[in-house]
Amino acid sequence: MTGTAPTNPFAGAARLTDYWATVYRRTWKGSAVSSFVSPLFYVVAMGVLLGGFIDADPDRLEGATSYLAFIAPGLLASQAMTTVFGETTYPVMSMVKWQRTYYSMTASPLSVGEVILSQLGFVVVRVAMSCGVFLLVMAPFGVFTSWTGALAAFPVQLLLALAFATPVLGLSAGLKDESPFALIYRLGLIPLFLFSGAFFPVANLDGWMQVLAKATPLWHGVDLTRMLTLGRLDWSMAAVHVLYLVALAALGWCWAVRRLTRRMVL
């Protein structure tokens, strides 16, 4: 039996499932441990121990009754973002340059778009696992005011993951070498992590700083997650967050496909 062309892009992307499963089977132990341990460390250190010094005033903490309850959704969304960066920077460089795995994939009936689609699927699965563990680890600390809210926060992480994954993958796909990654982590990931409302209300920031913070995708993710876990949903604001993240994921998708196609299809 000879090969066949896939009938639609999703069927094509699904053909790469065995590839991702094989790759994950090789590395799952390390990532499983870190996705359990690192949220625990953060929740204990920042939420419980540091939070013990913070006088929790719900009016000044966006309605949270403890610093732990305030910071937990922020850490959850940050975990989603960090996982995405881990999966779409160096691994993408490896597939396009070091191992040239993308080239072997597109020598088959699969196209660049299908390859990216499958990789996004893998990223979403990885975020689902690490954020799922995170939610389970946090639950015993009593940080979720609303259980339904905590459950609703889960798919938000997947949307946030896509909103980060498409542009970061697109960026990585066009880079000549890995040296910009150090900069992307230091001047991208870390400032986002620190200043997008995960650790303090962005209302504490002055003027343009606050505008800037509210323009970041992580803030939209954090704010939406926090509304849900604190059970204080503002529907119009939630709609703005979802639209923002969907738009970013869609724009990033177009950009990523274009950049990788330009690099590979010469």
Binding site: M1, T2, G3, T4, A5, P6, G12, R15, L16, T17, D18, Y19, T22, V23, R26, Q99, R100, T101, Y103, S104, M105, T106, A107, S108, P109, L110, S111, M264, V265, L266
Partner: protein, 308 residues
């Protein structure tokens, strides 16, 4: 299987392929011979339906790569010049995972992987990681991978470049078996011995154009003599340059080529020519009489050697 007419490929203002006509038939073993930069790999990438055609027409298996790329790629096998194996996966996983890209059922791919490992003599390495394989083993694995979908047409871009002579012979042996099984092979090479051993018919490419076409033997008969006498002289023998020496012997051969390190005398009987050279009082430090090869054909057609 492949039909190209006036095929062109340009990158910006650089024209890598400048209008070539090629017709490869089913069951044939066809070669593109030429030095680096001749346009062979650009041609192969177009034929593999991964690189858009810049001009002319190209049909692979009767299909147009511009519209039927996935369909074409589903039915061909590609062994790229640079290995694209996943070095962190096992040898067997590389085959199984790749077979799945072609939409083949898992059970069939597993069975096929074991058959192919046997064929390329890597069965005992099935569980090893690719990074632990030698260059020759990796190349054999890449060949096995390109066969996973039972391709109607197998494309090999420089299949033995970078391999040591022994590893190269093992690869040739496997490719020769495929040829005997009736697989249509298309390969590029800058090794004339590879082209002579593996191809029924070939085109010689230079600077993006085809400069000759035929079977290896026909090309040699047409463009060269039966034998070649190679003369190597000491460092500037008695102060004479190779050009001066060439003029002294040019009437002894049909044609004389001057290379930086030796003279090539094209003649029907090399031994006799060497004797005549000695009679003229010339004393080359080394002489070699050999059959003409495609290398000589290339030198004749382009004035340059294949491997610099």
């Amino acid at each position: 299987m492949i039909l190209a007419s006036g095929l062109r490929k340009s990158f910006g203002s650089f024209e890598a392929v400048r209008g070539i006509d090629v017709d490869v038939r089913r069951g044939e073993s066809f070669g593109f011979l030429g030095p680096n930069g001749a346009g062979k790999s650009s041609t192969m990438r177009m034929v593999a339906a991964v690189s858009p055609v810049s001009g002319g027409t190209l049909r692979i298996l009767g299909l147009d790569p511009a519209t039927d790329g996935p369909e074409i790629r589903a039915r061909i096998g590609v062994c790229p010049q640079e290995d694209t194996l996943d070095t962190e996966l096992t040898v067997r996983d590389n085959l199984v995972v790749y077979g799945r890209y072609f939409g083949l059922p898992r059970a069939e791919v597993r069975e096929r992987a074991d058959e192919l490992l046997e064929f390329v003599q890597l069965t005992d390495k099935a569980g090893a990681k690719v990074e632990d394989l030698s260059g020759g083993m990796k190349r054999r694995l890449t060949i096995a991978r390109s066969l996973v979908n039972r391709p109607e047409l197998l494309l090999l871009d420089e299949p033995t470049t970078g391999l040591d002579p022994q590893a190269r012979h093992v690869v040739w042996d496997r490719l020769f078996r495929l040829k005997q099984q009736g697989v249509t092979l298309v390969l590029t090479t800058h090794y004339m011995d590879e082209a002579e051993q593996l191809t029924d018919r070939l085109v010689v490419m230079d600077k993006g154009l085809i400069v000759a076409e035929g079977s290896p033997l026909a090309l040699i008969a047409e463009h060269s003599t039966r034998e070649v006498a190679e003369l190597r002289f000491g460092v500037a023998e008695e102060g004479e340059s190779h050009e001066v020496l060439a003029r002294k012997v040019e009437d002894l051969a049909e044609r004389v080529e001057v290379l930086p390190d030796r003279l090539l005398l094209y003649t029907a009987d090399g031994e006799e020519t060497v004797a005549q050279v000695h009679e003229r009082g010339l004393t080359p430090v080394a002489t070699l009489v050999r059959r003409s090869t495609l290398e000589d054909v290339f030198l004749r057609l382009t004035g340059r050697t294949l491997v610099d």
